[in-house]
Symmetry: C2
Subunit: 236 residues, 2 copies
Protein backbone atom coordinates (compact mmCIF):
# COMPACT_ATOMS: atom_id res chain seq x y z
CA UNK A 1 0.00 0.00 0.00
CA UNK A 2 1.19 3.55 -0.72
CA UNK A 3 0.89 5.94 2.22
CA UNK A 4 1.43 9.68 2.49
CA UNK A 5 2.20 10.86 6.01
CA UNK A 6 1.68 14.62 6.24
CA UNK A 7 3.92 16.10 8.92
CA UNK A 8 7.63 15.86 9.71
CA UNK A 9 7.39 15.84 13.52
CA UNK A 10 7.75 12.86 15.81
CA UNK A 11 4.26 11.54 15.01
CA UNK A 12 4.82 11.67 11.26
CA UNK A 13 8.30 10.18 11.55
CA UNK A 14 7.16 7.37 13.85
CA UNK A 15 4.20 6.38 11.68
CA UNK A 16 6.16 6.65 8.41
CA UNK A 17 8.95 4.45 9.81
CA UNK A 18 6.40 1.91 11.06
CA UNK A 19 4.64 1.80 7.68
CA UNK A 20 7.93 1.41 5.81
CA UNK A 21 8.96 -1.33 8.25
CA UNK A 22 5.76 -3.19 7.38
CA UNK A 23 6.72 -3.09 3.71
CA UNK A 24 4.50 -0.22 2.65
CA UNK A 25 5.59 2.69 0.49
CA UNK A 26 5.75 5.66 2.88
CA UNK A 27 6.25 9.23 1.71
CA UNK A 28 6.42 12.02 4.28
CA UNK A 29 4.79 15.23 3.11
CA UNK A 30 6.08 18.69 4.00
CA UNK A 31 5.52 22.23 2.74
CA UNK A 32 9.02 22.69 1.29
CA UNK A 33 11.20 19.56 1.14
CA UNK A 34 14.33 21.65 0.51
CA UNK A 35 13.71 23.76 3.59
CA UNK A 36 12.89 20.66 5.67
CA UNK A 37 16.15 18.97 4.63
CA UNK A 38 18.15 22.19 5.17
CA UNK A 39 17.10 22.42 8.83
CA UNK A 40 19.85 21.82 11.37
CA UNK A 41 19.59 21.44 15.10
CA UNK A 42 16.72 19.90 17.03
CA UNK A 43 13.16 21.24 16.70
CA UNK A 44 11.04 22.73 19.50
CA UNK A 45 10.24 19.19 20.71
CA UNK A 46 13.86 18.04 20.71
CA UNK A 47 13.57 16.02 17.49
CA UNK A 48 16.75 15.60 15.46
CA UNK A 49 16.90 17.44 12.12
CA UNK A 50 14.77 15.65 9.51
CA UNK A 51 17.78 15.01 7.25
CA UNK A 52 19.51 13.14 10.08
CA UNK A 53 16.36 11.12 10.77
CA UNK A 54 15.87 10.33 7.09
CA UNK A 55 19.44 9.10 6.67
CA UNK A 56 18.58 6.53 9.35
CA UNK A 57 15.32 5.69 7.53
CA UNK A 58 16.28 5.46 3.85
CA UNK A 59 13.03 3.65 3.06
CA UNK A 60 11.01 6.80 3.75
CA UNK A 61 10.81 9.41 1.00
CA UNK A 62 10.12 13.16 1.39
CA UNK A 63 7.90 15.20 -0.94
CA UNK A 64 5.60 18.20 -0.98
CA UNK A 65 2.21 17.74 0.70
CA UNK A 66 0.60 17.66 -2.76
CA UNK A 67 3.05 15.20 -4.34
CA UNK A 68 2.93 12.90 -1.31
CA UNK A 69 -0.89 12.89 -1.30
CA UNK A 70 -1.19 12.55 -5.08
CA UNK A 71 0.90 9.38 -5.11
CA UNK A 72 -0.78 7.76 -2.10
CA UNK A 73 -3.73 5.43 -1.72
CA UNK A 74 -4.13 6.40 1.94
CA UNK A 75 -3.19 9.73 3.55
CA UNK A 76 -2.28 10.18 7.22
CA UNK A 77 -2.70 13.63 8.79
CA UNK A 78 0.17 13.78 11.28
CA UNK A 79 0.47 17.56 11.24
CA UNK A 80 -0.11 19.71 14.32
CA UNK A 81 -3.84 20.26 14.75
CA UNK A 82 -3.69 24.03 14.41
CA UNK A 83 -1.97 23.58 11.03
CA UNK A 84 -3.95 20.60 9.74
CA UNK A 85 -6.57 22.38 7.61
CA UNK A 86 -3.83 24.41 5.92
CA UNK A 87 -1.67 21.32 5.41
CA UNK A 88 -4.57 19.38 3.87
CA UNK A 89 -5.47 22.36 1.66
CA UNK A 90 -1.86 22.38 0.45
CA UNK A 91 -2.14 18.62 -0.17
CA UNK A 92 -5.12 19.39 -2.37
CA UNK A 93 -8.73 18.25 -2.21
CA UNK A 94 -8.34 16.43 -5.53
CA UNK A 95 -5.43 14.43 -4.09
CA UNK A 96 -7.55 13.41 -1.08
CA UNK A 97 -10.82 12.68 -2.92
CA UNK A 98 -12.04 9.10 -2.55
CA UNK A 99 -9.12 8.21 -0.28
CA UNK A 100 -9.03 7.16 3.36
CA UNK A 101 -7.69 10.10 5.37
CA UNK A 102 -6.39 8.90 8.73
CA UNK A 103 -6.51 11.87 11.12
CA UNK A 104 -4.30 11.41 14.17
CA UNK A 105 -3.99 15.13 15.01
CA UNK A 106 -5.34 17.05 18.00
CA UNK A 107 -6.42 20.71 17.89
CA UNK A 108 -4.20 21.88 20.74
CA UNK A 109 -4.63 25.57 21.55
CA UNK A 110 -1.61 27.08 23.30
CA UNK A 111 -3.10 30.60 23.43
CA UNK A 112 -4.26 30.08 27.03
CA UNK A 113 -0.85 28.88 28.24
CA UNK A 114 0.17 25.41 29.40
CA UNK A 115 -1.23 22.82 29.44
CA UNK A 116 -2.86 23.60 26.08
CA UNK A 117 -6.64 23.77 25.70
CA UNK A 118 -8.53 22.61 22.57
CA UNK A 119 -9.93 24.59 19.63
CA UNK A 120 -12.35 23.43 18.30
CA UNK A 121 -13.87 21.61 21.26
CA UNK A 122 -17.14 20.37 22.76
CA UNK A 123 -19.62 21.13 19.94
CA UNK A 124 -17.16 20.52 17.09
CA UNK A 125 -13.89 18.70 16.50
CA UNK A 126 -10.90 18.83 14.18
CA UNK A 127 -11.99 15.51 12.68
CA UNK A 128 -15.36 16.99 11.76
CA UNK A 129 -13.75 20.20 10.43
CA UNK A 130 -11.53 18.12 8.15
CA UNK A 131 -14.45 15.99 6.94
CA UNK A 132 -16.51 19.13 6.20
CA UNK A 133 -13.58 20.80 4.40
CA UNK A 134 -12.80 17.66 2.34
CA UNK A 135 -16.18 15.97 1.83
CA UNK A 136 -14.80 13.57 -0.79
CA UNK A 137 -12.16 12.20 1.62
CA UNK A 138 -13.07 9.34 3.95
CA UNK A 139 -11.87 10.75 7.26
CA UNK A 140 -11.12 8.27 10.05
CA UNK A 141 -10.07 9.73 13.40
CA UNK A 142 -7.86 7.34 15.36
CA UNK A 143 -4.65 7.03 17.42
CA UNK A 144 -4.92 10.66 18.62
CA UNK A 145 -5.35 9.62 22.26
CA UNK A 146 -1.79 8.40 22.88
CA UNK A 147 1.91 9.09 22.33
CA UNK A 148 3.34 8.39 18.85
CA UNK A 149 5.53 5.52 20.06
CA UNK A 150 2.46 3.77 21.53
CA UNK A 151 0.47 4.36 18.31
CA UNK A 152 3.01 2.41 16.30
CA UNK A 153 3.94 -0.18 18.94
CA UNK A 154 1.10 -0.78 21.43
CA UNK A 155 3.18 -3.48 23.16
CA UNK A 156 5.16 -0.64 24.79
CA UNK A 157 2.24 -0.48 27.24
CA UNK A 158 1.63 -3.89 28.88
CA UNK A 159 -1.82 -5.41 29.14
CA UNK A 160 -4.98 -4.49 27.28
CA UNK A 161 -5.53 -0.88 26.25
CA UNK A 162 -7.75 0.90 23.79
CA UNK A 163 -7.58 2.63 20.43
CA UNK A 164 -10.70 4.48 19.27
CA UNK A 165 -11.96 4.79 15.69
CA UNK A 166 -14.42 7.44 14.48
CA UNK A 167 -15.62 7.96 10.91
CA UNK A 168 -18.60 8.12 8.60
CA UNK A 169 -17.34 5.56 6.06
CA UNK A 170 -17.63 1.92 7.22
CA UNK A 171 -15.18 0.58 4.62
CA UNK A 172 -12.57 3.19 5.50
CA UNK A 173 -12.92 2.29 9.20
CA UNK A 174 -12.52 -1.38 8.27
CA UNK A 175 -9.32 -0.60 6.36
CA UNK A 176 -7.96 1.53 9.21
CA UNK A 177 -8.79 -1.20 11.73
CA UNK A 178 -6.77 -3.67 9.62
CA UNK A 179 -3.89 -1.18 9.61
CA UNK A 180 -4.10 -0.86 13.40
CA UNK A 181 -4.00 -4.65 13.70
CA UNK A 182 -0.86 -4.68 11.53
CA UNK A 183 0.68 -2.24 14.04
CA UNK A 184 0.02 -4.82 16.77
CA UNK A 185 -3.35 -3.66 18.07
CA UNK A 186 -5.52 -6.66 19.01
CA UNK A 187 -8.93 -6.39 17.31
CA UNK A 188 -10.51 -6.51 20.78
CA UNK A 189 -8.66 -3.28 21.64
CA UNK A 190 -10.22 -1.31 18.79
CA UNK A 191 -13.45 0.50 19.75
CA UNK A 192 -15.50 1.94 16.89
CA UNK A 193 -17.35 4.88 18.47
CA UNK A 194 -19.43 5.62 15.38
CA UNK A 195 -19.43 8.61 13.02
CA UNK A 196 -16.77 11.29 12.72
CA UNK A 197 -18.70 13.49 15.22
CA UNK A 198 -17.56 11.07 17.94
CA UNK A 199 -14.07 12.54 17.42
CA UNK A 200 -15.30 15.24 19.82
CA UNK A 201 -15.07 12.64 22.54
CA UNK A 202 -11.61 11.34 21.72
CA UNK A 203 -10.08 14.78 21.11
CA UNK A 204 -11.42 15.80 24.53
CA UNK A 205 -9.28 13.07 26.12
CA UNK A 206 -6.18 15.20 25.46
CA UNK A 207 -6.52 17.53 28.46
CA UNK A 208 -6.44 14.62 30.91
CA UNK A 209 -3.74 12.87 28.85
CA UNK A 210 -1.52 15.95 29.14
CA UNK A 211 -2.03 16.07 32.92
CA UNK A 212 -1.41 12.34 33.26
CA UNK A 213 1.85 12.80 31.35
CA UNK A 214 2.88 15.28 34.03
CA UNK A 215 1.93 12.92 36.87
CA UNK A 216 3.30 9.69 35.35
CA UNK A 217 6.44 11.35 34.04
CA UNK A 218 6.71 9.48 30.75
CA UNK A 219 4.39 9.01 27.74
CA UNK A 220 4.20 5.19 27.74
CA UNK A 221 0.63 4.97 29.01
CA UNK A 222 -2.78 4.71 27.41
CA UNK A 223 -6.49 4.69 28.14
CA UNK A 224 -8.09 1.29 28.56
CA UNK A 225 -11.84 0.83 28.79
CA UNK A 226 -12.41 -1.80 31.50
CA UNK A 227 -15.80 -3.45 31.14
CA UNK A 228 -18.15 -5.34 33.42
CA UNK A 229 -20.75 -7.78 32.15
CA UNK A 230 -24.25 -6.96 31.04
CA UNK A 231 -25.53 -9.11 33.91
CA UNK A 232 -23.80 -6.89 36.44
CA UNK A 233 -25.17 -3.91 34.54
CA UNK A 234 -28.74 -5.00 35.13
CA UNK A 235 -28.51 -3.61 38.63
CA UNK A 236 -26.79 -0.40 37.57
CA UNK B 1 -18.31 10.48 60.01
CA UNK B 2 -21.31 12.67 59.19
CA UNK B 3 -21.94 13.14 55.47
CA UNK B 4 -24.38 15.36 53.60
CA UNK B 5 -25.15 14.14 50.09
CA UNK B 6 -26.71 16.97 48.08
CA UNK B 7 -28.97 15.56 45.37
CA UNK B 8 -31.80 13.01 45.35
CA UNK B 9 -31.05 11.38 41.98
CA UNK B 10 -29.40 8.01 41.40
CA UNK B 11 -25.90 9.35 42.19
CA UNK B 12 -26.98 10.87 45.51
CA UNK B 13 -29.02 7.81 46.44
CA UNK B 14 -26.22 5.38 45.56
CA UNK B 15 -23.55 7.30 47.48
CA UNK B 16 -25.79 7.93 50.51
CA UNK B 17 -26.72 4.24 50.71
CA UNK B 18 -23.05 3.26 50.42
CA UNK B 19 -22.01 5.70 53.16
CA UNK B 20 -24.80 4.49 55.47
CA UNK B 21 -23.83 0.90 54.75
CA UNK B 22 -20.29 1.71 55.88
CA UNK B 23 -21.68 2.94 59.20
CA UNK B 24 -21.53 6.66 58.48
CA UNK B 25 -24.33 9.10 59.19
CA UNK B 26 -25.72 10.01 55.75
CA UNK B 27 -28.23 12.80 55.20
CA UNK B 28 -29.51 13.48 51.67
CA UNK B 29 -30.06 17.18 50.98
CA UNK B 30 -32.88 18.48 48.81
CA UNK B 31 -34.51 21.87 48.20
CA UNK B 32 -37.86 20.97 49.78
CA UNK B 33 -38.01 17.66 51.66
CA UNK B 34 -41.79 17.73 51.74
CA UNK B 35 -41.99 18.12 47.96
CA UNK B 36 -39.35 15.43 47.46
CA UNK B 37 -41.29 12.96 49.63
CA UNK B 38 -44.59 13.89 47.96
CA UNK B 39 -43.33 12.93 44.50
CA UNK B 40 -44.93 9.86 42.95
CA UNK B 41 -43.94 8.03 39.81
CA UNK B 42 -40.44 7.60 38.42
CA UNK B 43 -38.27 10.60 37.56
CA UNK B 44 -36.89 11.50 34.12
CA UNK B 45 -34.14 8.89 34.57
CA UNK B 46 -36.52 6.13 35.64
CA UNK B 47 -35.66 6.34 39.34
CA UNK B 48 -38.38 5.26 41.78
CA UNK B 49 -39.99 8.01 43.88
CA UNK B 50 -37.64 9.11 46.68
CA UNK B 51 -40.11 8.08 49.40
CA UNK B 52 -40.13 4.52 48.06
CA UNK B 53 -36.32 4.49 47.90
CA UNK B 54 -36.02 5.90 51.42
CA UNK B 55 -38.37 3.29 52.88
CA UNK B 56 -35.88 0.72 51.61
CA UNK B 57 -32.99 2.74 53.10
CA UNK B 58 -34.22 3.75 56.58
CA UNK B 59 -30.66 4.62 57.61
CA UNK B 60 -30.58 7.59 55.25
CA UNK B 61 -32.22 10.81 56.42
CA UNK B 62 -33.61 13.62 54.23
CA UNK B 63 -33.21 17.33 55.02
CA UNK B 64 -32.94 20.71 53.31
CA UNK B 65 -29.64 21.43 51.55
CA UNK B 66 -28.76 23.85 54.39
CA UNK B 67 -29.71 21.53 57.27
CA UNK B 68 -27.91 18.59 55.66
CA UNK B 69 -24.73 20.63 55.08
CA UNK B 70 -24.86 22.31 58.51
CA UNK B 71 -24.87 18.96 60.30
CA UNK B 72 -22.17 17.33 58.16
CA UNK B 73 -18.40 17.12 58.47
CA UNK B 74 -18.07 16.31 54.75
CA UNK B 75 -20.42 17.41 51.96
CA UNK B 76 -20.88 15.54 48.66
CA UNK B 77 -22.18 17.45 45.64
CA UNK B 78 -24.27 14.85 43.82
CA UNK B 79 -26.57 17.36 42.15
CA UNK B 80 -26.80 17.77 38.39
CA UNK B 81 -23.96 19.96 37.18
CA UNK B 82 -26.16 22.70 35.77
CA UNK B 83 -27.85 23.03 39.19
CA UNK B 84 -24.77 22.59 41.40
CA UNK B 85 -23.87 26.24 42.06
CA UNK B 86 -27.49 26.97 43.02
CA UNK B 87 -27.67 23.86 45.21
CA UNK B 88 -24.44 24.79 47.02
CA UNK B 89 -25.64 28.39 47.44
CA UNK B 90 -28.81 27.02 49.04
CA UNK B 91 -26.64 24.80 51.27
CA UNK B 92 -24.90 27.98 52.38
CA UNK B 93 -21.26 29.05 52.23
CA UNK B 94 -21.09 29.09 56.04
CA UNK B 95 -22.22 25.45 56.14
CA UNK B 96 -19.46 24.50 53.66
CA UNK B 97 -16.62 26.59 55.12
CA UNK B 98 -13.64 24.55 56.27
CA UNK B 99 -15.25 21.30 55.13
CA UNK B 100 -14.22 18.84 52.44
CA UNK B 101 -16.63 19.25 49.52
CA UNK B 102 -16.57 16.15 47.32
CA UNK B 103 -17.73 17.20 43.84
CA UNK B 104 -18.87 14.26 41.71
CA UNK B 105 -21.01 16.32 39.30
CA UNK B 106 -20.49 17.02 35.60
CA UNK B 107 -21.61 20.22 33.85
CA UNK B 108 -23.66 18.52 31.14
CA UNK B 109 -25.16 20.97 28.67
CA UNK B 110 -28.24 19.61 26.87
CA UNK B 111 -28.87 22.81 24.92
CA UNK B 112 -27.10 21.42 21.83
CA UNK B 113 -29.12 18.18 21.83
CA UNK B 114 -27.90 14.65 22.58
CA UNK B 115 -25.36 13.56 23.54
CA UNK B 116 -24.91 16.54 25.87
CA UNK B 117 -21.93 18.89 25.57
CA UNK B 118 -20.19 20.54 28.56
CA UNK B 119 -20.54 24.05 30.02
CA UNK B 120 -18.10 25.16 31.35
CA UNK B 121 -15.42 23.33 29.37
CA UNK B 122 -11.83 23.53 28.16
CA UNK B 123 -10.60 26.71 29.90
CA UNK B 124 -12.70 26.26 33.05
CA UNK B 125 -14.53 23.49 34.89
CA UNK B 126 -17.41 23.04 37.31
CA UNK B 127 -14.93 21.99 39.98
CA UNK B 128 -13.08 25.30 39.60
CA UNK B 129 -16.33 27.29 39.53
CA UNK B 130 -17.38 25.68 42.81
CA UNK B 131 -13.98 26.33 44.43
CA UNK B 132 -14.08 29.98 43.31
CA UNK B 133 -17.68 30.41 44.56
CA UNK B 134 -16.92 28.74 47.93
CA UNK B 135 -13.28 29.61 48.64
CA UNK B 136 -13.49 28.38 52.25
CA UNK B 137 -14.60 24.89 51.17
CA UNK B 138 -11.96 22.29 50.31
CA UNK B 139 -13.24 21.10 46.94
CA UNK B 140 -12.11 17.66 45.76
CA UNK B 141 -13.30 16.56 42.32
CA UNK B 142 -13.55 12.79 42.03
CA UNK B 143 -15.74 9.87 40.86
CA UNK B 144 -17.32 12.00 38.07
CA UNK B 145 -15.85 9.82 35.31
CA UNK B 146 -18.06 6.76 35.85
CA UNK B 147 -21.57 5.50 36.57
CA UNK B 148 -22.88 5.85 40.15
CA UNK B 149 -22.96 2.09 40.75
CA UNK B 150 -19.27 1.84 39.81
CA UNK B 151 -18.40 4.82 42.05
CA UNK B 152 -19.75 3.00 45.10
CA UNK B 153 -18.73 -0.55 44.12
CA UNK B 154 -15.70 -0.59 41.80
CA UNK B 155 -15.71 -4.41 41.83
CA UNK B 156 -18.65 -4.23 39.38
CA UNK B 157 -15.96 -3.67 36.75
CA UNK B 158 -13.38 -6.49 36.80
CA UNK B 159 -9.65 -5.82 36.77
CA UNK B 160 -7.81 -2.61 37.49
CA UNK B 161 -9.47 0.70 36.65
CA UNK B 162 -8.94 4.28 37.64
CA UNK B 163 -10.51 6.97 39.80
CA UNK B 164 -9.09 10.50 39.51
CA UNK B 165 -8.73 13.04 42.31
CA UNK B 166 -8.30 16.81 41.78
CA UNK B 167 -8.09 19.46 44.48
CA UNK B 168 -6.04 22.26 45.98
CA UNK B 169 -6.07 20.96 49.58
CA UNK B 170 -3.71 18.02 50.21
CA UNK B 171 -5.38 16.94 53.46
CA UNK B 172 -8.84 16.98 51.88
CA UNK B 173 -7.53 14.81 49.00
CA UNK B 174 -6.00 12.44 51.56
CA UNK B 175 -9.36 12.14 53.36
CA UNK B 176 -11.22 11.58 50.07
CA UNK B 177 -8.68 8.95 49.01
CA UNK B 178 -9.33 7.10 52.28
CA UNK B 179 -13.08 7.31 51.59
CA UNK B 180 -12.51 5.89 48.09
CA UNK B 181 -10.50 3.03 49.58
CA UNK B 182 -13.40 2.32 51.96
CA UNK B 183 -15.64 2.04 48.87
CA UNK B 184 -13.29 -0.69 47.56
CA UNK B 185 -10.94 1.36 45.40
CA UNK B 186 -7.38 -0.01 45.65
CA UNK B 187 -4.96 2.80 46.50
CA UNK B 188 -3.07 1.96 43.29
CA UNK B 189 -6.24 2.84 41.32
CA UNK B 190 -6.41 6.39 42.67
CA UNK B 191 -4.59 8.96 40.52
CA UNK B 192 -4.08 12.41 42.05
CA UNK B 193 -3.91 14.74 39.04
CA UNK B 194 -3.03 17.82 41.10
CA UNK B 195 -4.99 21.00 41.77
CA UNK B 196 -8.69 21.59 41.19
CA UNK B 197 -7.91 23.01 37.72
CA UNK B 198 -7.14 19.45 36.61
CA UNK B 199 -10.91 18.84 36.91
CA UNK B 200 -11.00 20.29 33.38
CA UNK B 201 -9.38 17.07 32.24
CA UNK B 202 -11.68 14.67 34.07
CA UNK B 203 -14.89 16.55 33.24
CA UNK B 204 -13.83 16.41 29.57
CA UNK B 205 -13.91 12.59 29.75
CA UNK B 206 -17.70 12.73 29.81
CA UNK B 207 -18.24 13.17 26.05
CA UNK B 208 -16.38 9.93 25.27
CA UNK B 209 -17.98 8.20 28.29
CA UNK B 210 -21.44 9.03 26.92
CA UNK B 211 -20.52 7.65 23.47
CA UNK B 212 -18.97 4.52 25.00
CA UNK B 213 -22.19 3.98 26.94
CA UNK B 214 -24.01 3.91 23.60
CA UNK B 215 -21.52 1.46 22.08
CA UNK B 216 -21.14 -0.85 25.11
CA UNK B 217 -24.84 -0.77 25.94
CA UNK B 218 -24.54 -0.70 29.75
CA UNK B 219 -22.79 1.59 32.24
CA UNK B 220 -20.57 -0.97 33.99
CA UNK B 221 -17.31 0.20 32.45
CA UNK B 222 -14.59 2.61 33.46
CA UNK B 223 -11.39 4.26 32.28
CA UNK B 224 -8.17 2.54 33.26
CA UNK B 225 -4.78 4.14 32.71
CA UNK B 226 -2.51 1.34 31.47
CA UNK B 227 1.16 2.19 32.06
CA UNK B 228 4.46 1.07 30.60
CA UNK B 229 7.73 1.33 32.47
CA UNK B 230 10.00 4.33 32.60
CA UNK B 231 12.65 2.21 30.90
CA UNK B 232 10.42 1.68 27.89
CA UNK B 233 9.67 5.38 27.97
CA UNK B 234 13.29 6.27 27.38
CA UNK B 235 12.82 5.46 23.72
CA UNK B 236 9.56 7.34 23.39
Amino acid sequence: MRYAVLGTGSVGRTLAARLAGLGHEAVVGTRDPGATLARTGTDAYGNAPFAAWQSAHPGVALATFADAAAGAETVVNASSGAASLGVLTAAGAANLAGKTLVDVANPLDFSHGAPPALDPVNTDSLGEQIQRAFPEAKVVKTLNTMNAAVMADPARVPGAHTVFVSGDDADAKKAVTALLESFGWPSASVIDLGGIATARGTEMLLPVWLRLYGVIGHPDFNFHIARGGTAAAAGA
